[in-house]
Point group: C2
Chain length 340, copies 2
Amino acid sequence: MRATVLHAPGDVRLDEIPDATVVEPTDAVVKVLAGCICGSDLWGYRGANGAFDPRTIGHECIGEIVEVGAEVRDFRVGDHVVVPFCHSDNTCAHCRAGFHSVCTHSGFTVSGQAEYARVTQADGSLVRVEGGITPANRAALLTLSDVFPTGWHAAVSARVQPGHTTVVVGDGAVGLCGVLAAVTMGAERVIAMSRHADRQAVATTFGATHLVAERGEAAKEAVMELTDGVGADSVLECVGTGASMETAFDVARPGATVGFVGVPHGVDLSIRRMFDSNVGLRGGMAPVRAYLPDLLGRVERGEVDPSGVFDLELGLDAVAEGYRAMDERRAIKVLLTPEP
Amino acid sequence: MRATVLHAPGDVRLDEIPDATVVEPTDAVVKVLAGCICGSDLWGYRGANGAFDPRTIGHECIGEIVEVGAEVRDFRVGDHVVVPFCHSDNTCAHCRAGFHSVCTHSGFTVSGQAEYARVTQADGSLVRVEGGITPANRAALLTLSDVFPTGWHAAVSARVQPGHTTVVVGDGAVGLCGVLAAVTMGAERVIAMSRHADRQAVATTFGATHLVAERGEAAKEAVMELTDGVGADSVLECVGTGASMETAFDVARPGATVGFVGVPHGVDLSIRRMFDSNVGLRGGMAPVRAYLPDLLGRVERGEVDPSGVFDLELGLDAVAEGYRAMDERRAIKVLLTPEP
């Protein structure tokens, strides 16, 4: 099959490799109808994760089941499904508590930017799209594989409540989905921190009521001015750097919670600051499967449409250009179609 | 007036100093009917906070109002009151949100181990004891000044829910109050980490269902065995050291929240660990005033009795012995009476 392989920082290629197959009897194999590039893929692409051997890359996809293992009970060949980037049995104590990303049988999609992807724990991981995946709903459904539930998890972790003033730090696809999540949860004012016109436009489409283009101390001042010096009721940290976390704490009112979903790189937390302000911190890898039935319903009923995070669609052949476009911030998020 | 003064690490004395007086028109002066020594007083007593000039010490007390400023409306001379260790206006945005410890007009009791104490923002800070302070209710009421609401705040911050398995790290007076708070909030199993027989006895009296005497890795294993390998639903960190915070995260199940109230000393947080486990952290200085009306009612109705944290009662003259007893762990918490 054709699959995207990260050979070295900056060197991503579409290679021919052996097909994804059923390995465990609880596996399924999905023919990818749409995949995409995640902001977190750029960490490896940019060399921020250190040395590595060449490996397939891509953890987001939706598709059609082409093979199921002998123990898969709830899905059959031909089903159209959303594939959560982290797989889970949906029965262990952590899954039952809604934290599927820490499942005792967790696994991950490793060839989402390819023709086929193996899904472990198929019964516990997959969610069926009853009406089928079509060119019209493809982009919105694809966001359910990771980016929209991750933005949602930031908002859940920050405990966004109706009436809140919510700040979203980060205007990548996750941050934009965080805006949409906070708006959907009833936040009255959603302040998107963004200084890129294209991302500001999506944030506004998603319901952001205010845009703050400043950074650092000036960003804090802007939020304090908007909140009469009080700060935000909830803050979504959707980047993962030390500077973004600093800003998140800067703008949080005492007692607020910072919900974080950006994979942390170079973040030093000050517990003394947390103690003095009573600002909490909560988040991590999103339990996509926990949110999927609810979010899929909202998307299918047309209540939310996160598809606006995709601003570039390419065939799988052009995956290298997709990485370049995201790396150079020419694109917010790239959708890849194996068969254009 | 006679007041406890910390002259240098290990050197605490009862000195004669000028009386506490009304300075601002919003102040009141309270004749201390009972004060006590806090675990956090020991940080300075042990020299852990660096160099300092001699200063009065003691932030917990209850008493009778002997003087009010011209702008105090709700209290008059003769009223018996609980004095929250942190003073607040009870009207600013932070107070209205329940975070009185970050009030824009915050102040602190600085001579609670003395004959008189000045209370700033008297109307916003004090809570009247309608039935009056008596020798019989004195100890329980005194806990409302800091230690019981602080244990309560740990449980609130950790989001203890009915049915939870809750671990309390720390068997000082705050940790023991955390046990009582978790039990009162309906936790089904409360695991107190304690290896001192006297503290274990109080924890059990307060409703702890399990005692874990081990520390470090062995403590984690003990909790994991009690929870079928899952971990605790909520964790109260009531010490403030690196080791205690490490244990708190060790025993927390994915998705749990660690509520912390120990003033942090030498704590390095691992955000990567928080990300991987989705374990949150939340807490800080307790907004005593926020909880006081509720907790005072519970104490007055006899629903909870935190007085068991006091195991030594001394006259103010013997304050130095009180510090020695707590420093050497001969006493859990010392109650001081200016007029024995």
